[in-house]
């Protein structure tokens, strides 16, 4: 069955909706409520398009890879376009919810401020805290794997910590380490330490008994067993913790800034611009945070692919 005409109609509907949302005088839904049917039609068209693409992917179409990206992209497009259409169409005041186009404008016209905030929060506090937290978690975990005593004492502590809201220590850290970035880094260290510790320990313990015996028959030294057998086996666990921590670190640093900062930083920007009801700027800062969060996650995922090229979970994904 040829689906091309159907897909063309879908694309035309989506195109019309985009044109309506982005290039029409605000307030169009109030003037012509019937335009809401176009919004409904665009949902329908997007759903039809996505299921058509999914069917093509499952049928091993030659463009399988790009189609796989197309499906979630269409979904995101519809969400953004509907957001734009509803805020513009009903002329929603900016204080409530700015339209995506306004956020983009605010983003590009405030680049220097946003860059300074990004440098303060991300490049200083998050990276320093993340590195310290992850490295110390790793070091303690490789001690603990050798000592039953440390394991027995630290694992319950780690489980305890995972149940409590750690971000709460932010005001204390601000009091101890001052307003500048070291206090935020300290919060990040505490937040990232235990996930790293628990995951690395689980990874180092996951080593196959056969591998252990094999290393033993090779008369490997302890350090050789560690680097050649234990560490590679633990890598998937370590990367899990690294990815989890990349989000935690950003949250910790931003929340800690609510408790006091010098006059720069993403958390500071959010809390002051909310006070001034300057919502496009707040959303632009969130856009920066979202970009930073997803890009660091993506970078770690790429690194994982490069390091773990031999692992079944990576190989099967190809």
């Amino acid at each position: 069955m040829n689906q091309t005409p159907k897909l063309l109609i879908y694309a035309a509907v989506l195109f019309a909706q985009v044109a309506l949302a982005f290039f029409t005088e605000p307030g169009f839904y109030e003037r012509a409520p019937l335009l809401l049917f176009l919004l409904l039609a665009s949902f329908f068209a997007a759903a039809g398009m996505m299921s058509a693409c999914t069917a093509l992917v499952d049928a091993n179409h030659p463009f399988k890879k790009s189609l796989k990206i197309a499906v979630p992209s269409v979904f995101a497009l519809v969400v953004v376009v509907s957001w734009q259409a509803l805020t513009q169409g009903y002329d929603v005041p900016q204080v409530l919810l700015p339209a995506p186009s306004e956020i983009i404008v605010a983003f590009f016209s405030n680049l220097p401020t946003l860059w300074a905030d990004f440098r303060q929060t991300f490049l200083k506090a998050v990276i320093a805290g993340y590195l310290m937290g992850c490295i110390s978690g790793f070091i303690v975990a490789q001690w603990a794997v050798k000592s039953r005593f440390l394991q027995n004492g630290l694992l319950p502590l780690g489980n305890f910590v995972s149940a409590i809201p750690i971000v709460g220590i932010a005001p204390i850290m601000v009091m101890w380490f001052g307003f500048d970035w070291p206090s935020k880094a300290a919060v990040v260290v505490v937040m990232t330490f235990f996930p790293m510790f628990i995951n690395t320990l689980a990874g180092l313990q996951s080593v196959d008994a056969l591998h252990k015996d094999l290393m033993h028959t090779y008369a490997a030294k302890k350090s050789q067993t560690f680097t050649k057998s234990q560490l590679p086996q633990a890598m998937p666990f370590i990367f899990n913790a690294l990815k989890l921590n990349s989000t935690l670190a950003l949250i910790g640093a931003i929340v800690a800034e609510f408790f006091g900062t010098p006059i720069v930083g993403m958390g500071f920007r959010i809390s002051t611009e909310v006070g001034r009801m300057n919502m496009e700027m707040v959303w632009a800062t969130i856009l920066v945070a979202a970009l930073a969060g997803s890009m660091s996650y993506g970078a770690l995922a790429l690194l994982e692919r490069a390091v773990l090229f031999w692992h079944p979970s990576v190989r099967s994904g190809r």
Binding site: M50, V71, N152, A163, P165, P171, M175
Partner: protein
């Protein structure tokens, strides 16, 4: 080989608790002592080590309050203050607990609904799943103040805005766990259902839902802890309206360290008991199913 006392679990835990307490007292002495010495020197007063040691544990606004001071404050605000009073920690805990629970319930329902959609509809899986994962790489807690302010502008105040943030944080573990769980049914069982000509909903209620339950509870434990974090952070910008988060913020504004620590202690207690309640339900359910835990 006989187990020595050093290999016992309780021994390590006891040693760790003692070590942490000792470290805490030492750090409190050092940090508060330094502060005291500075004040004395500024006032040009005489001081001796014995007076410093005696005073370091009774400072009104210490850098680090020793455990007994925190506990005394906690006891005072929990048991010696009327529950209706704004100074009562019980009152603030109830405020936080409300939004945590509402957010947790909403997040669980949403998470399960998305998971059911993803499992049954291939298009939904392909369009939704990447965004579910991406949603967690965005530091969503940063949005907490906006959601509270925006919803406040359309006269939606109180528990709902905070619950929405809790919901956002708690739906993710539930979705991921349930997708895994609903797909974890034995292949043979699924094929058996097909030979019985069972409908999708029959397969769901008689087989998939059943095999997903252990996964659901594992996710619920993560989700409820996340919901508590969401509720506390959401309370930061709402100012003095109440809740453990606002206790943290006002404590930090007025330098009331003991108040911060007492609120933190309460938050830890709350988080721990919430997770314990969920695992209790898990145990009851799994025992009824005949799985020994």
């Amino acid at each position: 080989m006989k187990e020595s006392i050093f290999d016992k679990k309780w021994f390590a835990i006891v040693v760790f608790i003692i070590a942490i307490t000792a470290l805490w007292y030492a750090a409190a002495l050092w940090m508060n002592g330094n502060q005291l010495v500075k004040t004395y020197e500024r006032k040009n007063q005489e001081w001796t080590y014995s007076t410093i040691i005696a005073e370091a544990y009774q400072v009104k606004r210490p850098m680090l309050p020793p455990p007994h001071q925190v506990f005394a404050q906690w006891y005072k605000t929990v048991f010696d203050t009327k529950v209706t009073s704004k100074r009562s920690l019980v009152y603030h805990t109830m405020v936080t607990l409300q939004s945590t629970m509402l957010g947790f319930v909403l997040g669980t329902v949403l998470g399960v609904a998305i998971a059911i959609g993803i499992v049954h509809n291939r298009t939904m899986e392909m369009s939704f799943m990447p965004w579910v994962i991406a949603s967690q790489t965005i530091p969503i807690l940063a949005i907490a103040p906006i959601i509270v302010v925006v919803l406040g502008a359309i006269n939606l105040t109180g528990v709902v805005p905070k619950a929405i943030i809790s919901m956002y944080l708690s739906f993710f573990p539930v979705t991921i766990g349930m997708v895994k769980g609903l797909r974890s049914s034995d292949r043979m069982h699924l094929e058996l259902m097909q030979t019985y000509n069972a409908s999708n909903s029959q397969t769901f209620w008689m087989l998939r839902w059943y095999s997903a339950q252990p996964f659901l509870f594992a996710s619920l434990k993560v989700a409820i802890a996340a919901a508590l974090v969401g509720a506390i952070v959401a309370e930061l910008p709402t100012g003095a309206q109440g809740g453990l988060g606002s206790r943290l913020l006002s404590g930090s504004y007025y330098g009331q360290t003991v108040q911060i620590w007492a609120a933190l202690f309460m938050a830890a207690l709350l988080g721990l008991s919430l997770v314990t309640v969920v695992s209790l339900f898990e145990k009851i359910l799994l025992r009824r199913r005949g799985v020994s835990v």
